[in-house]
Symmetry: C2
Subunit: 679 residues, 2 copies
C-alpha cells in the first residue's frame, strides 16, 4: 500500500525535466532523469537506524538488492549500515507486486514509483526490475547537508523510453578480468542500463572456455579467458542488477583467434597466430565449406546453453573479403552458386548462421553488415555506420539499435554522445510502427587503448549521458544540466567501486615515481587524448605496449577545459561577470606558472619526457590568454607582430602534440580573434 | 650458482646503513635497510621482456611468489608483465637451496643474497623464506628514471636482527573483513614482518567460527566473524608470504563476547550482551569452576588444530577482578585454596590454561600479566607495559616481545615508534644469554577508532619504521633518513593494494559531498588526531558511531607539519636557506588564505561544521607566522601587545580542538618565542 506523502505540497512545475520555473525547480541531481517527478518539501534523513522492509512479492534477489543498497549507502555515508548493527524500525518500504521473468526479457515492465517524505520512503513496482531501478534513484538522490545525509522529498513515477539500453565491452583486444566486468555492471545498474553486450571474440583473443573446442581458449587467448563458471557468475551478477547479458562471437571476419587452433575454419591455409596489432585484417571464415557450419553449429549450441538471453550476437562487421578473393575454391563455389560478390557471399554465410542461431532457440543480432536482401526479419541490427542505416532497417521491417554516436572509445565529449537520439534524424520521419522497431542503443567500449587500469575512466562518467538519452523523455536535452548532473553521478559512481577517478591520480603517481603529482596534474587536467582513430595511426601500438602514459591516464574529456571554454564564451560575448574574469585569469596564471615547476620533474621520468614541449606550449598559450584578457579589459589593440605570431603559434598548438591535445589553445585562440584589430 | 657481478666496482663505504661517505653513499631507498649492501655502478632495466627463472629447490609457493612479484611490478610500471605475454629470456635468476619448515618456525633462517647488475639479477637463499624477502628488496629498489624503470646495481647480503617481527590486528572492537587482513599481510610481506598476531576475541566480539561452541560466533559476533575455511585461507595466504599466524583468545578478562551465549563461564550471572563501548569492563571468567577449564580445553583444542603455529596467545591483560571480589563462591574458593589476592587467582588461572595449551602441543604466549611466580619458563611474554617489564622477564628466564612503544593505535609519529629498541634501555644491560630471550617485537593495531576504511592509514606507513627497527642492524637510527625512505615505501605500498593514501582523499570527498576537496585537504594536511587515549575520553563513542570525520580521515602523522617544523628549526637556528624561507612563507600564506575558501564549504556538510573554528584558528596561526617571519627577516621587535595576545592565542591553539590538533601552532609558537624582545 502506498502511504500518502506527509507533506504533499506538490510543486506543479517542478517536474524533473521541465524548464526551470522558479527557484524550487532545479532538476533532481540524478541521471537519468525520471520520466516524471514532483519535488516536495522536506527531506528524509539517513542515519544508523535506517532499515528496509519488504512487502508483497519477495525473492532472494530483492534481499540482495537491499543489502547492496545498504553497502553503497554505508560507503557513501561512512555509517556502518552494512555491519548488521541496525536495530532501527524500518523506514524504507518496498512493495513488489509480482515476479519478473525467469530470464529477463526485452521489453519487460521496468517501471516504479518512489515516494520520499520526511518520515518514510515507499518504493513500489510491478516486479523486481522496477524495484532495482527505484533503489538507484534513491541512492542517487542522497546528499550530505547541514542536517547530515538526507534525501529530498519527491514523488517519482518512472519508466524507460527504450527497452534496450546497453553497454558493449570488448574483452578481446585487451582482456578485462571478471572484477572489471563486475564493477562496470554495478555502474550500469546505477544509471539503469539493462544490457551488457559482451564482445567475447575477435582477432586478438577468444575469451570464453569452450569444452567442445578447447583449442579456442587454449591457443586463442594467451591464457586470458573466462571459465564457463565465471561466465555463469557474471550472468547471475547481471541478473541481480536487472541486466541482460548478450554474448557476441564475431564472424566471419574478426576471427583470427579461432584459427590459431582451428586453421581449417579460415579461407586460407595457416598457420595463424593471435593478432597483436589493431585494425582490419584479412583472415575470414570459409563460408563455402560445410565443416565451417558444423563447427559454428556446435559452438553456438554450446554457447546458447551457457548464455540464457534470447538474443545472440554474431558480429558480422568489417570482413574485407581479401581471403575470399584469393581462394580459387571459394571463387569456384561462388561461380557455381551464382554468388555475385563478397557481399552476397557474406549474406549467404549470415543466412546459414542465422538458421543455426534460430535452431538453438535464439534471435540473431548483428552489426549493420548482416542486413542484406533475404535477411530474416527477426534479426536485430546494431547500427555502427550511422543513424541512416538504422532508419533504413526500421523501414525494411527490422528491429535495430543505435550505436553510431555512442562509440565511447573515440574519446569524444559527453555532449557528443548526448545529442544523438535513436529516433532523431531520419528516424524522426518513421511511422510510429517503424519507430517501435528501434529498440534503443548501446555504448561501445572497444579496447585497443583500454586496460583494466583505465577502462573505467573510458566508460564513466560519459556513459551516464548515453544512459539518460536511452531512459529519459526525448525532451531532456539541456547540455548544461547534463554536465552539472554528470559531475554528481561521477562522484556517486565511486561508491560503486568504479575507479574512473582514482586511476587518474594513481597513474600520475606512477609517472612521477611517487613524487608530488600536483604540477603534472595541472597539465593533465587540460589535455585530452587525440580523438577518433588518430592515435593508432600515430605510433605502432600492439597488445603488449604499456598504456602507462599521460594519454592513458587523463579522462577523455577535460572538465576544466570545458569550463574555461564557457568562461571564454561569456568573455567574448561581453557577458562575463567579474568573478568569471577572475577565474579565467586565475586559471591562465596557474597554467602559465606551472611549466617551470613541472619541467625538472618531466625530465626525470622516461614516461613524461615526451611532455616537455607540451608543458612549455601550455605555458605560452596561457601567457597569450593573459595578454589577451588584459587587452580586452583595457579595450586596447595588440601589437600586430605579436598577434600574427601568436595566432600562428596557437593554430599549431591546437593540432595534436604527439597523442595529446591542448584543450586550452582553441579557447585562447578565440580570445585573440576577439581582440580589436590594430587601428 | 652465483654469477659474479658484471661491474663489481664495489663502493666500500656505501654499505646501506653507514654514515654517508660521499656522493655515492646515499642509503638505498628501501625499508627495512639490509644488514649489508654494496652499491655498484649501473642499473638493471625492467621492460616487457622481464622474466624469472627458478633454479635449485622448487615448490609451488615460489612460483606464486614470482607471479606476485610480476603483479606488483606490473602495477608499478604499467607494463603488462602479469598478462602472460612475456616471451623474454629470463634475466632474474632465483636459486633456492632447500625447503623451509612445513609450519614456519620461529628462528628459521630468513637470510638471502641479492646481486643486481646491469645484465641480470641473482637471488639466492637457503630456503624460500629468504627468497620472499629478497624479492621484496628488489621490488622496493625499483624506480622510474629517465631510462625507464630501473633497479640500481647492488649486492645485498641480508638477514634479520630479530626472529619475531609482528603486527597485531584487533578484529574484535571493529571487525576487519578478510580482504583487509589480506592486503595488510601483503604490506607485512613488503617490509619483511613475519608474524601476524590475530586478536580474535574481546568484549566486543568473538570473531572465529567454533563448530564446538557455535554460540560464540552466533551470539558473540553480530554475524561478523571468520569461518574456519576463511581462517585457513588467511593462514595459507600468510604462509605464502613468509608470515606466521598467531591467534589470540583473550582471557580471563576481555571476554564478554563469550558470555553472551555461555554466561556460565563468567564470574557473575548474566545475561550478557556484546559490549559496544570501549574500555576495561568487569566481566571475567570464573577461574574457580572446573567447567570453565573444560570449556577452554575443548575450545583451545579446536583452535590449536585450526592454527598450525607453535605459539598460542591467551591474552591475560586487564582483568580488573571486580566480579571476583563480588562473588562469595570465588571468595570462598580463594580462602579454601589460600589464594591471597586477585593477582594470585589470575596466576592460578594462567597456570591451568598454560597446562591446557601445552597439552595441545602449543607454547603459550600472553601479555605482561601472565608473568607470575610459577609461570612456566617457556611462556612468551608480550610486554605492553614497558621495556622494563620485558627486561625483567628476560632476567627471570622468560622469552619476550616488546610492544610497549609500538602501539600504533595511539597516533604517535613514526619517529616515536622508531626509537624504542627491544634491546634498549635496561635491556641493554642484560647478558647476551638474557638478550637472546628477547625475540623481537610487535606493532599493535587496537581498533576502537579503526574501520576497514581507515585501518590501512592507521597501520601504514608508520609500521614500516617498526619493521626496520626489528630487522635492520641496531646502528640504523637516522630519523631523517627513516622519514625519507618512509615516503618512498609509503608510495610503494600502494602497489600492494593498501589504501592508506587513497582512503584519505575518498573520505574528504564524502565530507564535501563530491565537491572539490582542495581546501579541506589544506586543513587536513596540517592537523592530527589527538594522541593516546584522549579521544575516547572526549566524546561518547561506541561501535556503531560512524568514523567518517576529518579525525578519521587524516593520517596520524602530518607530513607537512613535520616538514614545516624542520623549516622552523632552521629558521630559528639561523641556518635556513633562502629557499627554506620562501617555502615557509608559501605554506603560511596557503594556510592563511585557505579559510575564506573553506568556510562556506564547511557549513554545508554536517560532517565538517565542527571544523569551522579550527579552520579560522589555522588562518590566524598562519598570519602570526607570517608576521613573525617578517619581523625576524627585518630583525625588528614585535609590538608587545600583539606578542602577548598572540602567544596566548597560540598556546590555546596547541591544545586539542575537539578531537584534532593543529600541528602548525607549536612551530609558529617557536617563531614568536624567537622574536627579539621589544627594546
Amino acid at each position: 500500500m502506498i502511504v500518502t506523502a506527509a507533506h504533499p505540497q506538490a510543486v506543479p512545475d517542478a517536474s524533473a525535466h521541465a524548464e526551470p520555473a522558479g527557484p524550487a525547480a532545479k532538476p533532481l541531481q540524478i541521471m537519468p532523469l525520471p520520466s516524471h517527478a514532483e519535488q516536495q518539501q522536506g527531506s528524509f534523513g539517513i542515519d544508523g537506524n535506517f532499515a528496509i522492509a519488504f512487502e508483497g512479492y519477495n525473492e532472494p534477489r530483492l534481499a540482495r538488492a537491499g543489502e547492496r543498497m545498504l553497502t553503497v549507502l554505508a560507503r557513501e555515508t561512512g555509517i556502518p549500515l552494512d555491519r548488521h548493527s541496525s536495530a532501527g524500525k524500518p523506514s524504507f518500504f518496498i512493495h513488489t507486486t509480482g515476479p519478473s521473468e525467469h530470464v529477463q526479457r526485452l521489453g519487460e515492465d521496468e517501471s516504479y514509483r518512489l515516494e520520499i517524505t520526511a518520515a518514510a520512503v515507499h518504493l513500489t513496482a510491478p516486479n523486481p526490475l522496477g524495484i532495482l531501478h527505484g533503489m538507484q534513484t534513491f541512492l542517487q538522490l542522497g546528499t550530505i547537508s547541514p542536517q547530515g545525509f538526507t534525501v529530498p522529498a519527491v514523488i517519482v513515477d518512472d519508466h524507460p523510453r527504450f527497452p534496450w539500453r546497453g553497454l558493449m565491452i570488448d574483452v578481446s583486444r585487451h582482456f578485462q578480468p571478471i572484477e572489471v566486468i563486475k564493477r562496470n555492471l554495478d555502474g550500469m545498474e546505477a544509471v539503469k542500463l539493462n544490457v551488457f553486450h559482451w564482445h567475447l571474440s575477435d582477432n586478438q583473443g577468444f575469451r570464453v572456455e569452450s569444452p567442445k573446442y578447447p583449442g579456442l581458449q587454449q591457443k586463442g587467448s594467451a591464457g586470458l579467458y573466462y571459465s564457463q563458471a565465471e561466465v555463469r557468475e557474471v550472468i547471475a551478477y547481471a541478473r541481480d542488477r536487472g541486466i541482460r547479458v548478450v554474448p557476441e562471437f564475431d564472424m566471419p571476419g574478426h576471427a583470427t583467434a579461432w584459427f590459431v587452433a582451428y586453421p581449417e575454419l579460415a579461407s586460407a591455409s595457416g598457420p595463424y597466430a593471435i593478432e597483436t596489432r589493431w585494425g582490419v585484417f584479412d583472415p575470414a571464415m570459409d563460408p563455402t565449406r560445410q565443416a565451417t557450419y558444423t563447427f559454428i553449429d556446435s559452438l553456438i549450441g554450446e554457447m546458447a546453453a551457457l548464455f540464457p538471453d534470447a538474443y545472440f550476437h554474431i558480429g558480422g562487421d568489417e570482413c574485407n573479403g581479401k581471403q575470399w578473393d584469393a581462394s580459387p575454391a571459394i571463387q569456384s563455389f561462388m561461380h557455381e552458386h551464382a554468388i555475385a560478390n563478397n557481399a552476397a557471399l557474406q549474406a549467404y554465410f549470415t543466412r546459414r548462421v542465422q538458421q543455426i542461431v534460430a535452431r538453438h532457440g535464439k534471435t540473431m543480432e548483428g552489426w549493420d553488415e548482416v542486413l542484406n536482401p533475404g535477411t530474416p526479419q527477426d534479426v536485430v541490427i546494431q547500427s555502427w555506420r550511422g543513424a541512416q542505416s538504422l532508419a533504413d532497417a526500421a523501414r525494411g521491417g527490422y528491429r535495430g539499435l543505435l550505436s553510431a554516436g555512442y562509440y565511447i572509445d573515440l574519446g569524444l565529449p559527453a555532449a557528443d554522445h548526448y545529442a544523438p537520439d535513436p529516433l532523431g534524424g531520419d528516424a524522426a520521419r518513421l511511422t510510429p510502427e517503424q519507430q517501435a522497431r528501434i529498440l534503443g542503443g548501446e555504448a561501445t567500449m572497444w579496447s585497443e587503448f583500454t586496460t583494466p587500469e583505465n577502462i573505467d575512466s573510458r566508460i564513466w562518467p560519459r556513459t551516464a549521458a548515453i544512459a539518460e538519452r536511452l531512459w529519459s523523455p526525448q525532451s531532456v536535452t539541456d547540455v548544461q544540466s547534463m554536465y552539472d548532473r554528470l559531475a554528481v553521478v561521477s562522484h556517486k559512481l565511486e561508491y560503486y567501486g568504479l575507479q574512473h577517478r582514482t586511476s587518474y591520480t594513481a597513474m600520475l603517481g606512477r609517472m612521477t615515481g611517487g613524487a608530488d603529482i600536483t604540477a603534472l596534474r595541472v597539465l593533465g587536467d587540460v589535455v585530452e587524448p587525440v580523438k577518433g582513430y588518430t592515435r593508432g595511426s600515430l605510433k605502432n601500438y600492439d597488445s603488449a605496449t604499456p598504456l602507462n602514459r599521460l594519454v592513458d591516464a587523463v579522462p577523455p574529456e577535460s572538465d576544466v577545459a570545458r569550463r574555461f571554454r564557457i568562461l571564454v564564451d561569456h568573455i567574448t560575448a561581453g557577458s562575463a561577470t567579474a568573478e568569471e574574469w577572475r577565474q579565467a585569469r586565475e586559471w591562465l596564471t596557474l597554467w602559465h606558472d606551472n611549466d617551470p615547476e613541472l619541467q625538472p620533474q618531466l625530465a626525470q621520468s622516461e614516461l613524461t619526457q615526451e611532455l616537455i614541449p607540451l608543458s612549455a606550449s601550455l605555458s605560452r598559450v596561457a601567457a597569450d590568454g593573459l595578454t589577451a584578457l588584459d587587452l580586452l579589459a583595457a579595450r586596447k589593440s595588440p601589437a600586430p607582430e605579436w598577434q600574427r605570431s601568436e595566432l600562428s603559434f596557437l593554430k599549431a598548438s591546437e593540432a595534436p602534440q604527439g597523442v595529446l591535445l591542448n584543450m586550452i589553445a582553441p579557447s585562447v585562440h578565440r580570445l585573440l580573434d576577439k581582440l580589436q584589430q590594430p587601428g
